[in-house]
């Protein structure tokens, strides 16, 4: 560490010094992976430890949801269950991932208050901790899609692997969302509630429980889909998994744009709050 110059320092250099500390904190946090993976995995385990069927609750939860929504909507919308159920399953899983990143991830600092005020680890460790627990829970849930895919004979091929770059894009999005909402929610406790309302509205606009092409058939509604970032984030994983081929190119462009914008916002939020987030807790 650098030795401080003696005496009073001009305000300007203090600001840049703070920025440097912040950047160093972020890097240090990332390097402490053995701490945040352990805490994150522990969060996942503890959530189910005392229940008799454990992590199977994740599947039960999803199965009940998919079966009830699936058969009603397949009939209502005149869809083949064979195509619609896998579509619905992966859509619900990914939607849950993004929602949890915002709503649960928004509590990353608030729930870690005891740690932040007692232990001198850089605070971004707790962002990664929540990223691990939310992502691992999602990956476990993905196993449910595998079962559904086998039952309904979803086509599998080399193209299925294209879901991996899609998954990486969505995981990046998740990490950025957690970062943004953890900061905002620590300072303004209403943000998580507002975001949760917003996500509910988006859920009915985004093709999760209905196929995109149904809405596209009405000319004026096509924009609702094409301008919806959530739709593209779903597509970069959903399409390869369902059709063993790539999503449309503009979905990748849109998902990339979402990441760039969120990265800019996350950087701004970190720069504004820096380590002062402890005073908001």
């Amino acid at each position: 560490m650098a030795v401080a110059a003696p005496g009073e320092q001009p305000a300007r250099s203090l600001v840049t010094q703070e920025m440097q500390t912040t950047i160093r904190d972020v890097v240090r946090s990332a390097k402490l992976w053995h701490i945040w993976t352990r805490l994150g995995m522990q969060d996942v385990r503890l959530k189910f430890r005392r229940s008799s069927i454990g992590a199977a609750w994740i599947f039960v939860n999803l199965a009940v949801l998919v079966l009830s929504i699936g058969f009603i909507y397949a009939n209502l919308l005149g869809q083949e269950p064979r195509e619609f159920i896998p579509y619905l399953t992966i859509g619900m899983i990914l939607w849950g991932y993004l929602t949890n990143s915002i709503v649960d991830g928004g509590n990353a600092f608030i729930n870690s208050e005891g740690y932040i005020k007692q232990i001198s680890l850089p605070i971004y460790v707790y962002i990664f901790r929540f990223f691990v627990s939310i992502s691992v829970t999602t990956l476990i849930t993905m196993c449910a899609f595998v079962i559904v895919a086998v039952i309904y004979r979803v086509p599998v091929g080399p193209g299925t692997l294209l879901a991996i770059p899609g998954l990486l894009m969505v995981m990046t999005t998740s990490l950025l969302l957690i970062t943004i909402f953890a900061h905002l929610n620590a300072r303004f406790r209403d943000v998580a509630h507002m975001a949760s309302v917003g996500m509910q509205v988006l859920f009915f606009v985004t093709p999760v429980i209905f196929p995109a092409h149904l809405l596209r058939q009405r000319r004026s509604m096509a924009l609702v889909i094409d301008l919806n970032p959530m739709y593209h984030l779903l597509e970069v994983i959903r399409r390869p998994l369902l059709s063993a081929g790539p999503a449309e190119w503009h979905s990748y462009v849109a998902a990339g744009l979402v990441i760039v914008v969120l990265a800019a916002v996350a950087t701004a939020v970190i720069a504004v709050f820096q380590r002062r987030i402890v005073f908001a807790l």
Binding site: Q118, I119, R276, F279
Partner: protein, 248 residues
Amino acid sequence: MAHIQLNNVDLEFQVGAKRHDTLKSAVRSGFGLRRRTEARTVKALKGLTLSIRSGERVGLIGHNGAGKSTLLKVMAGIYPPQRGTVVTEGHMCPLFEFVTGFEMEATGWENIRTRALLLGMSPREIDRKIDGIAEFSNLGEFLDIPVRHYSTGMFVRLAFATSTAVDPQILLLDEVMAAGDAAFIESARKRMNELMLRASIVVFASHGLDVLPTFCDRTILLKQGRIVADGPTADVVKAYAELSAVKA
């Protein structure tokens, strides 16, 4: 070489600022649209400058609210000061309490590992020390069951055994953790002393004036966020006694 250097450190807390912790308070304040009124600033530390070098054992004394714990947290990097600079060098370990990181549903073994990681031990270091920790805790096969089933005494033994296994260069202790607390049995006191001797710098906040002379060559007296005396323990303790007498 380990050292701690504070230059003109000011630390302020905003209190009375209405936080929207509950929906009720959110609604009442119009979801934050109507701005809060009585935001108040409390200056916890005022213009603190001090330097602590390797080999020093420093006591912090002062009345409640004088800023002892806050100063420790500034040294630990938990509270960034609004003005001034804090520079520290050396592996630092704050021990303000025992239990952060303990999960009631996890077993004793799991909790040792988690807590040790949080205190800055590496996984390899933990592998090396975990048997010693288990032995000191004297919990035997109870370590295999969730901490939830422990008695308070067992829980404290485990937490203490784990927390005192660290080997920091800089050790920051708050009074509950400091040696000489009557609640600790003799072996705990010995272990605590060993821990304090291992570190190159020890800073500890204390009420127990009798412990200070035996352990600290230097003591800092805080009053309302300022340093009012800094020097050999005997002198500063005397100044503190006078201060208390005047107040009484």
